[in-house]
C-alpha cells in the first residue's frame, strides 16, 4: 500500500474509499460503486483525512494513516462540509415522522 499512488489499481482499495466516504472525506453521491483504482478523489480524500486528524500529509495509504483508520472511533462523520451529514439527514426524517 505504501507504493500505491495515483493511477495504480490494487484489490481492496475500494474498502478505503468506502471508509473515507462513510466519515465524510470522499464526496460521492453513492457508496455502492467504489473502484479499486487509486484515483485523484482518493488522494484528495486522504489528504483531507490526514490533515484533519493531525497525521503527516502524504496523500498515500501509509502505515500511520492505515493505523489511524483501524483505531476504534465514533460513527459520526468528521467534517462539516459533506452534504451527506447523517445527523441532519436523520433530523429531517425524525421531524417528518
Amino acid at each position: 500500500l505504501n507504493n500505491a499512488r495515483r493511477g495504480t489499481k490494487i484489490t481492496g482499495i475500494s474498502q478505503f474509499k468506502r471508509y473515507l466516504h462513510r466519515f465524510g472525506y470522499l464526496l460521492q453521491k453513492s457508496n455502492t460503486s467504489f473502484s479499486d483504482e487509486f484515483d485523484a478523489t482518493l488522494e484528495l480524500a486522504l489528504v483531507r483525512y490526514q490533515r484533519n486528524l493531525g497525521l503527516q500529509v502524504t496523500g498515500k495509504l501509509d502505515s500511520n494513516t492505515v493505523s489511524q483508520m483501524i483505531t476504534p472511533r465514533c460513527g459520526d462523520p468528521d467534517t462539516n462540509t459533506t452534504p451527506h451529514h447523517h445527523n441532519h439527514v436523520h433530523k429531517t426524517r425524525l421531524t417528518k415522522n
Binding site: R73, C74, H88, H90, L94
Partner: protein
C-alpha cells in the same frame, strides 16, 4: 473545535436543564446499571461544570430530552453498528438527543476489573457523545474529548480547553467555572 452545520444547539433559556434516560430494552448486562449510571453521571457533570446547563436523570424514556441505549447491528437509524471495535457509538446533533452505543463492545468502567484487550472506557465515550448532543462535531486536536478515535483501554474523559471553548461558544460559561485552562479575561457572562 467544530460545530455541526448551521451551529445547532438546545434553544432554551439559560440556565437550562436537560433530562436523560436509559432504554430498559436496549441495555447491556456486562456492567451493572449502577456502574453505567455513575459513568454517565460523571460524563454529564464534566460538561455541566463548564456551561450553564444541568442534566437530570429521569425514568420516562419517551418524554426525556436525551435517550441513551445500547444497540446491536442495524437498529433503525440507518447507521448499523459493526460488532467489536470499529465504530463504538454515535449520536445526534441538537435537539434530537439520541445517544447510541454499540452493545457488542466490551464496555468498561474500571480496567483493573475488566482485563479484556478490547475493553473500551464507557465514561470516555459517553463524554464524547454528550459533546455531540450539545452541538460539537469532531475536533482535530488529539487531546480533545471530541477527537473522533479512542484506542481500547485508553481513557480520555477530561475536557480539553478546545472542548471547553467550543461548548462555551454555544452556551456561555458556567458562572462557577474555574479551571487550569481559564483566564479571567476568558470569563464571560452566560449569554449563550
Amino acid at each position: 473545535f467544530v460545530f455541526f452545520p448551521g451551529k445547532p444547539r438546545w434553544s432554551r433559556s439559560m440556565p437550562m436543564t436537560l433530562t436523560y434516560a436509559f432504554s430498559r430494552e436496549n441495555m447491556i448486562h456486562s456492567l451493572s446499571m449502577k456502574e453505567i449510571r455513575e459513568a454517565f453521571q460523571r460524563a454529564f457533570t464534566r460538561w455541566a461544570s463548564v456551561i450553564p446547563v444541568s442534566f437530570v436523570e429521569v425514568s420516562d424514556f419517551e418524554l426525556t430530552d436525551i435517550k441513551i441505549g445500547f444497540y446491536n447491528g442495524e437498529h433503525g437509524d440507518g447507521e448499523p453498528f459493526d460488532g467489536v471495535l470499529g465504530v463504538l457509538a454515535h449520536s445526534f446533533s441538537p435537539e434530537i438527543g439520541r445517544l447510541h452505543l454499540d452493545a457488542a463492545e466490551t464496555w468498561a468502567v474500571d480496567f483493573r476489573s475488566t482485563t479484556s484487550e478490547v475493553a473500551v472506557d464507557l465514561e470516555s465515550v459517553a463524554t464524547h457523545e454528550i459533546g455531540h448532543l450539545l452541538g460539537l462535531s469532531h475536533s482535530s486536536l488529539k487531546e480533545a474529548v471530541m477527537y473522533p478515535s479512542l484506542r481500547p483501554r485508553d481513557k480520555r474523559a477530561d475536557l480539553n480547553i478546545d472542548d471547553i471553548k467550543g461548548v462555551q461558544s454555544l452556551y456561555g460559561s458556567n458562572p462557577n467555572f474555574r479551571s487550569e485552562w481559564s483566564l479571567e479575561s476568558d470569563m464571560s457572562a452566560n449569554q449563550g
